[in-house]
């Protein structure tokens, strides 16, 4: 069962990949969905065995590399963190599969799509179940590959291909960081197994690594590079540009990418490495700051987007910022709790957005929608549920995790010495709650509640999605409503022993019990900001839309909304400062000057040219004139004689004579 949960998606992927053309759409759909369904069932069983009954499972399959100290094996580790990830991945993946079988009904390449989806799930499972860093890296790269294949699924579109390449390359920047982290871990700990590395961490607190002439603290350096990997995968600020462009894939892919799998891997890495990162105080603070900045950046950039999917994509980045900054403040279990809740409501939002897009004949622009509440009441209700869960409306999933993150951040001011930074992080997080509420409800207003902008011929064909697409939405909506309430005590309850040894939090940083003692005003602050954001969306779209539009059309308002719509010009700055110079360098220096220049000139091209030049010159010597032949004969005779004498170190006057003779000849 433990192994079949990993192997079933692979087998099903191979089945659909190689046999898809023989079994057709229905055959591959049935196989893919049922294999992932089995995985989902198994993951619940494993959750009961490992998570609730506390029997961690370690499976050794076979040795992989064995060279000196370096020993890596194929082995699987099922502990509490893995189990939570398994539930998230397999269940949401199953729902997405189910949704995709219907959503992609018209596509001729549906077996290929299901192959890639299965492959994606397989690699993600490899990532979370591995018991060493190398095998984790297999999954890490695998999900990157699968995301590339999925984003460029409609490979005839230029945009899809470009954004797929962007996703792969930007991810690879983070992967380089992860590689360096793995090298450093092996250099320091002489092993890459989780158990060995994490048990050795406390003995390396004071040690340092000598890099580039400086002594760097070992744990800080390793944590920094690990975090660099997480930055790429979880699209934190700096490497976040790929995630929004990854919208080019089909909507179920976005749901899988943003909710359950790809982007959660970065958070998972931080949580998994909690025994290491918790000791790296400086880097932890950096992680927290960057996460908070990501949250506010993405939330602000999401406010003026007009693409339905892009708004939700920005909310993903923003929520990932929350997870990362709570990991940075050593609240790993809260981070994982938010990950789980987020997976459910984000999948819900994406799939219902897909339902809207599906019914509007693939229109993604929110300005061309509106009034859909009359036509798609069901989709509206699930999307409202998802949005309320996202903004942290009380007693929905997001409330229990996100508000708790902010409460604990407010509390951490008293336990961590860097008061100013923590205050800063707290207010960034709180303000992005406000922005989150604003753009979520702006999306709802523009899509469902405002007056309609749908073209007349289109509006007759708007229809509610088929039942197979609605079932996942219902399940996810129930998850979004009840998951936080039911699993709160399991994840972050005071004194829960669910995590066991899988997450390590420094005892002095453990502040869950103190969170009960916070003043009520602090606890209500996020909710207050949420209400503020919702009312701003309400005012700007329903009550005083003329007035708000007027404000937006002033010079300053125009500029602000333009900058936010262009995502703070981050892509532009990236292109101007990094990508174009590197591309130009690659063309001018590497290609033109070195490859085609120096190496070719020194190498084959130059040599052949020199030889043929010299051969031409040698040919020119033979003029056909007898006199010239005689001259060369005599000169060479003298040359040979004098050469002989130079070798013998005796300077005979013959040399002088020959010199004189040459002078006579040439004058």
């Amino acid at each position: 069962m433990y192994l079949s949960i990993i192997l079933l998606p692979l087998i099903s992927s191979i089945f659909s990949g190689f046999g898809g053309r023989y079994f057709g759409k229905e055959g591959t759909s049935i196989v893919a969905c049922s294999s992932i369904f089995l995985c989902g069932v198994f993951s619940w069983v494993i959750f009961f065995e490992v998570g609730l009954f506390g029997s961690n499972c370690y499976l050794f399959i076979s040795p992989w590399f064995h060279s000196g100290n370096f020993y890596v094996a194929w082995s699987f580790l099922f502990d509490s963190v893995t189990v939570i990830m398994l539930i998230v991945i397999t269940n949401i993946s199953f729902l997405v599969h189910l949704y995709a079988t219907c959503y992609m009904e018209q596509d001729p390449h549906k077996p290929r799509f299901l192959t890639f989806l299965n492959l994606f799930t397989f690699f993600m499972l490899i990532l979370v179940t591995s018991s060493n860093f190398i095998q984790m890296f297999v999954g890490w790269e695998g999900v990157g590959l699968a995301s590339y294949l999925l984003i460029s699924f409609w490979f005839t579109r230029l945009d899809a291909n470009q954004s797929a390449i962007k996703a792969l390359v930007v991810n690879r920047v983070g992967d380089l960081g992860l590689c360096i982290a793995l090298f450093l871990i092996f250099y320091t700990f002489q092993s890459l197994d989780y158990e060995i590395v994490f048990s050795l961490v406390p003995s390396f607190l004071e040690s340092s690594i000598y890099i580039c002439g400086f002594n760097w603290s070992t744990l800080n350096t390793i944590s920094f590079f690990l975090f660099l990997g997480a930055v790429g995968k979880s699209s934190q600020l700096g490497l976040h540009t790929w995630l929004v462009d990854a919208m080019e894939g089909p909507t179920p892919v976005s749901a899988l990418l943003h909710a359950a799998t790809m982007v959660t891997a970065g958070v998972f890495l931080l949580v998994r490495c909690s025994p290491l990162i918790v000791y790296a105080k400086t880097v932890s603070l950096f992680i927290a700051l960057l996460g908070a900045f990501t949250a506010i950046y993405a939330a602000s950039a999401g406010c003026f987007q007009y693409d339905l999917k892009r708004v939700i994509a920005f909310s993903t980045t923003s929520q990932l910022g929350y997870m990362i900054f709570s990991s940075g403040l050593s609240l790993y279990n809260v981070s994982l709790f938010h990950l789980t809740n987020h997976a459910f409501f984000k999948a819900l939002l994406f799939l219902s957005a897909g339902s809207v897009i599906h019914s509007c004949a693939d229109e993604q622009d929110m300005r061309k929608m509106g009034g859909l509440i009359q036509l798609l009441p069901f989709t509206y209700s699930v999307m409202l549920t998802g949005s309320l869960a996202l903004v942290g409306f009380p007693f929905l999933a997001g409330f229990y995790s996100k508000d708790f993150i902010l409460e604990l951040t407010a509390l951490t001011r008293f336990t961590i010495s860097n008061k100013l930074q923590i205050n800063f992080i707290y207010w960034l997080g709180t303000f992005s709650v406000f922005l989150t509420a604003f753009y979520s409800f702006r999306l709802l207003f523009l899509t469902f509640l405002n007056k309609t902008n749908i073209p007349r011929p289109l509006i007759y064909s708007v229809h509610e999605a088929p039942i197979l697409m609605l079932i996942p939405l219902i399940i996810l909506a129930f998850g979004s409503i009840f998951l936080g309430y039911f699993s709160r005590d399991l994840f972050i309850g005071a004194g829960t022993n669910f995590w066991g040894t899988s997450i390590f939090i420094y005892p002095s940083l453990f502040s869950i019990i103190e969170a009960e003692e916070l003043p009520l005003s602090t606890k209500f602050t996020p909710f207050f900001f949420t209400i503020l954001g919702i009312s701003l969306a309400l005012i700007s779209n329903k009550l005083a839309d003329k007035f708000i539009t007027k404000i937006q059309l002033t010079v300053v308002g125009k500029k602000i909304s333009f900058i936010l719509n262009k995502r703070w010009f981050w892509d532009k700055i990236n292109n101007e400062l990094i990508i174009y110079p590197i591309a130009r360098f690659g063309y001018l220096v590497s290609l033109v000057n070195i490859d085609r220049g120096i190496i070719e000139f020194m190498g084959p091209y130059g040599t052949s040219k020199i030889i043929s030049n010299w051969a031409h010159k040698a040919i020119c010597i033979q003029t056909g004139q007898l006199v010239h032949y005689i001259f060369f004969m005599i000169v060479s005779v003298f040359f040979l004689i004098s050469f002989n004498h130079i070798i013998l170190k005796s300077f005979f006057e013959l040399k002088l004579i020959s010199l004189f003779f040459c002078l006579v000849l040439f004058t």
């Binding site: 003029t623 056909g624 004139q625 006579v664």
Partner: protein, 101 residues
């Protein structure tokens, strides 16, 4: 009194005169043959002088052999010259450039 340097200088002068005669001559194969004769004469003189100087008979024998070879060579050379003149109607050296590199 036999001065070594004087004799060698004379021989070298003769030899270089022959060489220069070959090199500076553009118009006439006949002059070239004559220059070759002058070269051989210088060599012969060399043989004879050193045979006397070292008191060794071999040099004189060689001188006679070179004389013979020179006679044969000039005879063949003149024959070629005559044949060439019959075909081309000229004996200019600078016009013998049919084969170039």
């Amino acid at each position: 009194m036999i001065n070594l340097l004087n004799y060698i200088s004379l021989i070298l002068m003769l030899f270089f005169l022959g060489i220069l005669g070959m090199l500076y001559n553009r118009k006439n194969i006949l002059l070239m043959l004559m220059s070759i004769e002058l070269l051989l004469l210088a060599i012969n003189f060399n043989w004879v002088f050193f045979a006397y100087y070292f008191d060794d008979i071999v040099g004189q024998i060689f001188a006679i052999m070179v004389l013979t070879v020179a006679a044969a060579e000039s005879a063949i050379g003149l024959a070629i010259l005559v044949v060439y003149y019959r075909i081309r109607g000229t004996i200019a050296v600078e016009l013998i450039n049919l084969i170039q590199g």
